[in-house]
Symmetry: C2
Subunit: 318 residues, 2 copies
Amino acid sequence: MPDRLGAPLDVPVFERLALIGFGLIGSSLARVARQKNLARRIVAIDASDTVRARVTELGLADTVTGDLVAGVRDADAIILCVPVGVCGEVAEAMRAGLKPGAIVSDVGSVKGSIVTQVAPHLPEGVHFVPAHPVAGTEQSGPDAGFPTLFLNRWCIITPPEGQDPAAIAKIRAFWEGAGSMVEEMSPAHHDLVLAITSHLPHLIAYNIVGTAADLEAVTQSEVIKFSAGGFRDFTRIAASDPTMWRDVFLNNKDAVLEMLGRFTEDLSALQRAIRYGDGEALFNHFTRTRAIRRSIIEIGQDSAAPDFGRQPKTDKDQ
Amino acid sequence: MPDRLGAPLDVPVFERLALIGFGLIGSSLARVARQKNLARRIVAIDASDTVRARVTELGLADTVTGDLVAGVRDADAIILCVPVGVCGEVAEAMRAGLKPGAIVSDVGSVKGSIVTQVAPHLPEGVHFVPAHPVAGTEQSGPDAGFPTLFLNRWCIITPPEGQDPAAIAKIRAFWEGAGSMVEEMSPAHHDLVLAITSHLPHLIAYNIVGTAADLEAVTQSEVIKFSAGGFRDFTRIAASDPTMWRDVFLNNKDAVLEMLGRFTEDLSALQRAIRYGDGEALFNHFTRTRAIRRSIIEIGQDSAAPDFGRQPKTDKDQ
């Protein structure tokens, strides 16, 4: 698997790419699009004056604007990089600027709700290919982005049935150009897969950090001091953008509640094993979870370095 | 805060240090004791032929033996680095070899149960200073150890009331020599602090990985492929040693059940907010958990690198 972005494309995938929202994902897309020549011209659209000023300073786009209609005009591709909860209103607001044949896409962590929100606002002749890059860090804002964010990560696309194959191929080429591997599935299946691999882990991490903050017998400074025993990994996930995650849970309610129900049932079984001292049940459960970790490392979706390589393993044979 | 082990001590803390159990912790202790001159002679004791052969190959100790009584004979310090569940029987089995004035310690993740198990087997005149280094990785065995494992990490000691101050000072000096910061508290308070900062996070991680493995609608290969959205961090924790963790839960039952009860209550509140679409409750919860992350990074107990630095942030300004 290549660990670097390759050479720039000879011919860009898009002539004029409009990116809406310049947080971690939008600003990373602008960086890789520039570096890999994925688009001839990049238009940055953001509602915030502060963000626009910073995007200009960083030189991330050819044009920077706060005007949605003007920003998407003449673009052959428009990618929404805003929280899931506002995609509908952004689509409605930009509608008048969309040209026939343009491709609209997004990067939202939920897909069913995006389709419901966005599709009704798109005029005849505009293509719609929703996408979700399964990549990110716990940091936010235009400074947090970097061009290799999507490298060797999966991007899931969920084109509605009957969508133009040429438009799908363009979006696929764009993400492959950014270094991603692309997989196609239905919005409903996407939402189920992500509920277990991403949404539930975030919910649980947010929850345990909250539980720890509310204790009386253990002080917060003790929780912070002795966090290296496991807790700190949860705090990283629980430091993710609150707006983004609120929208994810509001927009993928059914799948998250389904996975949460299963999680709680399983946790009750472990709780019971602890209460009645059933060491065999605990040992068996703790053994079978190791195989999944091995597979994730084998396919290159995580590093095998112990403790994520936090502690450099020097003088090992000393 | 220094990021390297300092110079070796002029005078070792112990003359003859016996380490029992050569997994991640025991073998790391041997490495740092050698490198920092924390002990003049190191005796390695392990019940497994394979482990002993490997310890000899790696040259981690001056003497390697499977005989507990012979191994601890003449040692002025004996540290149990075996799973919590067998500390009692190991103490009983080594008893005949302990010399008057020797200090017995351990590295167990649970302290109340260690005191109950070990103390009754120690002869008059032998000191007992239980300790718990809050450090580790998900890897196990003598090859997994490295000398900087304890550097800048906390070590909690829980000496019984009335314990000899000189013996406590020696154990403190040993851990400080290994690069740790030492804090003293009661066994009961230790068990409560660790229940939230370490034991509950492990239980939850083991649980969600199990839940994911049992799904029918989402395949295991999908879970593995799309794990970068949060799930993979849990799999790292859930790859920890099953025997060690079974013993932790069996031996810290009350504190773990108490924390688990609080966690479940809080999770029900989040579940309810999702079900009824209460975005404000979700947003508020997700916001307050960020402050704890900031504090952990400020005091140096984790790296601020996004995503644990898994993705090198190169060409950032491109």
